[in-house]
Symmetry: C2
Subunit: 491 residues, 2 copies
Amino acid sequence: MAEAITSREQDYSQWYNDLILKGGLADYSAVRGCMVIKPYGFALWENMRDQLDKMFKETGHVNAYFPLFIPKSFLSREADHVEGFAKECAVVTHYRLKNDPNGGGVVVDPEAKLEEELIVRPTSETIIWNTYKDWIQSYRDLPILVNQWANVVRWEMRTRLFLRTAEFLWQEGHTAHATADEAVVETRKMLDVYAKFAEEWMAVPVIKGVKTANERFAGAVDTYCIEALMQDGKALQAGTSHFLGQNFAKAFDVKFSDKENKLEYVWATSWGVSTRLIGGLVMAHSDDQGLILPPKIAPLQVVIVPIFKNDVEKGMIDNKVTEIIQKLKDLGIRVKYDDQDNVRPGWKFAEYELKGVPVRMAIGPRDLSNNVVEVARRDTKQKQSVSMDGIAFYIQTLLDEIQLNIFEKARIYRDEHITRVNTWDEFVETLENKGGFVSAHWDGTAETEDEIKAKTKATIRCIPLDNEEEDGVCILTGKPSKQRVLFALAY
Amino acid sequence: MAEAITSREQDYSQWYNDLILKGGLADYSAVRGCMVIKPYGFALWENMRDQLDKMFKETGHVNAYFPLFIPKSFLSREADHVEGFAKECAVVTHYRLKNDPNGGGVVVDPEAKLEEELIVRPTSETIIWNTYKDWIQSYRDLPILVNQWANVVRWEMRTRLFLRTAEFLWQEGHTAHATADEAVVETRKMLDVYAKFAEEWMAVPVIKGVKTANERFAGAVDTYCIEALMQDGKALQAGTSHFLGQNFAKAFDVKFSDKENKLEYVWATSWGVSTRLIGGLVMAHSDDQGLILPPKIAPLQVVIVPIFKNDVEKGMIDNKVTEIIQKLKDLGIRVKYDDQDNVRPGWKFAEYELKGVPVRMAIGPRDLSNNVVEVARRDTKQKQSVSMDGIAFYIQTLLDEIQLNIFEKARIYRDEHITRVNTWDEFVETLENKGGFVSAHWDGTAETEDEIKAKTKATIRCIPLDNEEEDGVCILTGKPSKQRVLFALAY
């Protein structure tokens, strides 16, 4: 049997780590807080990245690449930004090592000290806006619709595989516009791209909303977000899109001459999603047997396992499987034939359940003579004997069905975990016993938000974009409120 | 007109910089030695990367991702490796900044000093082999065929856009094998992949060879390489593939139990190409009017420019062009219609010549009535009036022809610049007046190689793999030699 994993009920956090480690997605590394993304995990990320990249390009964006390092002084240029990002970051102070005169390997060469320290980018607004200064003179140079796929580093004190690591992979879009309106439209457009990707590809339902001032990106005028719900009732911010106003243009003196030849500061947006999405994906769908991956982004969509007693049987199965694989590949389906002979079929079944492969096919001699194959779904664990005739189209349809089913299951869970409460007691009770999003009135002040967080650890995840106006009173202060906001405990 | 560029004859080095900067491939950045890869340059890199990635996967490799940081002590584990890489690297010593108590922005927090410094990876053998230790127990875990796309940093003192930058993008393959033979086969296989990519995709002819001990990768048993020739007669190492023996397995104690249950050290290879290839591509093909890009990797393959006097003409041209673009796109051709009205057609012609777009089509009202279009090739600058009927297939064939022609031109130049010499005087004369590869006898010692380099700056680029044995005498020492090697001045 494959290695056992901890159940969710027993220890949710350990269950998550087991899935990541034993499912072959990632490993700890020798560097504190940094992880190794293993081939299976990276193949998943490649599928996610490629689809996002396609959606960015379809919405008119192009990729570029900016330096890993940011001069220390750049961080200080935008007042809020430095508060948010300067604190925990990797600082390069020297550019050379030398042999230890005492024979202890290599040591930092004190003579190779940088005049100005370099920060390993925690995000790239500053270095990019410093560059845009050279790229933008006139309204004809606008808009600039650039995205970057990159690694970034934030020196987190407590790290968790995928969810919070010192180094992570992400994309960061940085756009420049002639008007505030156009920048806001871009900010919202990219939020929609993220939501579509999360729901249609990751099968993770999300709520689109805007952050309160407390939770805003450091340097943004408005931060929009998509919020997902995990199976333990905690929320996960899955992507953010920021309207940056003219803050970075002013910090880096980026102006353009408009059609009337008047000089104006440029308007900005930035937006990003990261390998954190993988953590959210795992926690949204998986069960106590292992990962459950949505077919659209699963590295492997189908695995075929032969059941045989001798070489003759194996040979006959091989022939049939070769035929099936060709038909599946012709439909663009990612399929693997696992005929290794050092483990038993039962071990393989458990292994591919652990890895979340959406469909498993098993073929034995009796299946061959009956012209059928056993098809097992990972999501529902249903097994069925299916005719070989038209099997490829059957599998294609089944993969679509699994994709929808995984989403529906998560959506129903999420919808059942949005609770409207009107009193403080209800609020606390819901957070403690039910979890999920708690929809409640709030008086709109940062102080109240802070106090609620201090008392319950719950934060305002967002003010949903589709909110309706409704008169009410703040659950904490009793002051008047015009709309509900969504609170939750969050990752 | 587009901005003028310096001619090769006037100043080759400035010509190169002009092409990179004015051609929109890259920009200098605020960080010493680091560049910004602009959207046009990055689109070129994406096409190269995607094709290489496809070839890696077709040869059985998978991608993964390892940490950006390497603990300082790791570098010292392999004796040669530390000599080669520890010297010029970016060293992270602290993990936090704090507000300057004297009000000068932010400063490094002296209390946030790392116990062990972290090196920004100059290459990843050490961190990867430290990881492989956990992945490899038995021969069943082998081979491991992993590649990583990543940024790396080497603190070069003199930098040049793409050719030598402090940070660059690359891929690094790191494979682990049960036998030396298998590792050598892998090393050679990847060299063949690189050569095929360089010749068939970049249209750059290369010589496959093996490096002398002096030029070997730090930590390798053998370094294989592909060497290309630039138009100024200097060579450029375009890719390397290393047989690492058991050096890294020993340094990180990575053993496996073989079929007889005996513990053995694992055999290793590593291989890489980088954004440096873009520098080589530019210098191999381009001319005094700008870039010449091979169609297979050009971001844009065809640009269409309308020639019109009024809106009526423009409308008619638009209709026809929409039709043509659809046909080109159906064939997978990357095409752009440049109908911006603030610059004249002549400006556009010069601009797309500068950018190296392989085919330009121009359409005016007379072309419309004659059912023709003017087609101009970037490589030969030939212009021709071509019937609209079957235009898409004509363009498809033309792109193939351009690809081959660019390669042939470079191949002829390269072949004409491999000179066999038998005496020191001939050697020096050829290096000084003709350039290119100089094929000469050498006595096989590092001392002679060093002395030749000191006298002429020429290095042994490689011992070609297809070398024939031939008795001769060393051009410098007169000692006996069994084969010729290729010398050149090099980037």
